[in-house]
Amino acid sequence: MKDEELQYKIEQGDAQDTSADAEAYRKVFSSLQHEPEFSLHASFEDLVIQRIAAKHIKESSRDGWWFAGGILLFIIGLVVAIILIDFRPDVGVYSFLKGYPGLIIFALLFILALNYIDRKFIRNVSH
């Protein structure tokens, strides 16, 4: 009988074969079912959860530093750009509005009125 067949037979629980090979396979299969000596720490679960929590804290702190660094770099870049191009605040093309203060007031009132009508009538009807 081939060894492969013998392994299969013993695995299926054959007790007829008493050859040395069969006996040896029985012992091997039985021993392989035994738990190895190594076992995890009793509080293994807690240790993993603690490590995850610590990692989260570390990551969120790192994110915070990256964010602060980004803001700082942005401010530095802005200041450098302002200095390099000698930037002066100027309303530019909108300076013509200085001559029409009434137009600005009308625009603001018009927008507020539209907003009021929207909230008072249109949204109320749709709800």
Partner: protein, 186 residues
């Protein structure tokens, strides 16, 4: 599989108790795999923790194509193998069958370690096998995984899994037979 989906979805939504449940369900499997591959007891515990850390990190990527335990087994196997590689322990090649068999059967290192207890003796012998053999034996005999699942975990073709299992058990049998003093003289 439905249980797996529910558990994964709870973990993704941040339920720590669900993750604790996942650890409880799979720590035996991970412990077996890592315990078989890694010799150092300090490294074993840490690697097992690393495995579950990785599981937590990657759980959102689990696609339910296999059982959750199989996926976790894959992570454990990769961690174990990577650790061996870091320690410069060769894992890629299975030694030449004939020369390894001769060397393994002739080697009496394990004989002196556990002369009284057959179970201890066989487990010591397993420690002297190549990592792939140890993994296949452990997954099959201890964790009740079938050839397909072992193939998924280790990335080996099913035929290779069967072959390694056969060869590993055959080597152990030869050694045990010798140990028992029942070897037939030809």
């Amino acid at each position: 599989m439905t249980d797996d989906r529910a558990l994964v979805s709870r973990i993704i939504s941040g339920d720590v108790q669900a993750f604790r449940q996942l650890i409880r369900q799979n720590e035996r499997l991970v412990g077996h795999m890592v315990g078989r591959l890694i010799d150092s007891s300090e490294d074993r515990e840490e690697i097992c923790q690393d495995v579950f850390m990785k599981v937590y990190e990657k759980i959102g990527e689990f696609n339910f194509q296999s059982q959750l335990s199989t996926w976790i087994g894959t992570i454990a196997y990769r961690h174990g193998i990577n650790h061996l590689r870091k320690k410069k322990i060769k894992v890629s090649d299975i030694p030449d069958e004939e020369s390894f068999t001769t060397h393994f059967i002739a080697d009496d290192q394990a004989d002196s370690l556990a002369e009284q207890d057959m179970d201890d003796y066989v487990l010591k012998l397993v420690d002297h096998l190549p990592p792939q053999y140890k993994t296949v034996l452990t997954l099959y005999h201890l964790d009740g995984k079938n050839y397909t699942e072992i193939g998924e975990i280790t990335g080996m073709p099913e035929g290779t899994v069967k072959n390694y299992l056969f060869r590993a058990r055959n080597l152990l049998k030869e050694k045990v037979k010798k140990y028992m003093g029942k070897e037939e003289w030809i």
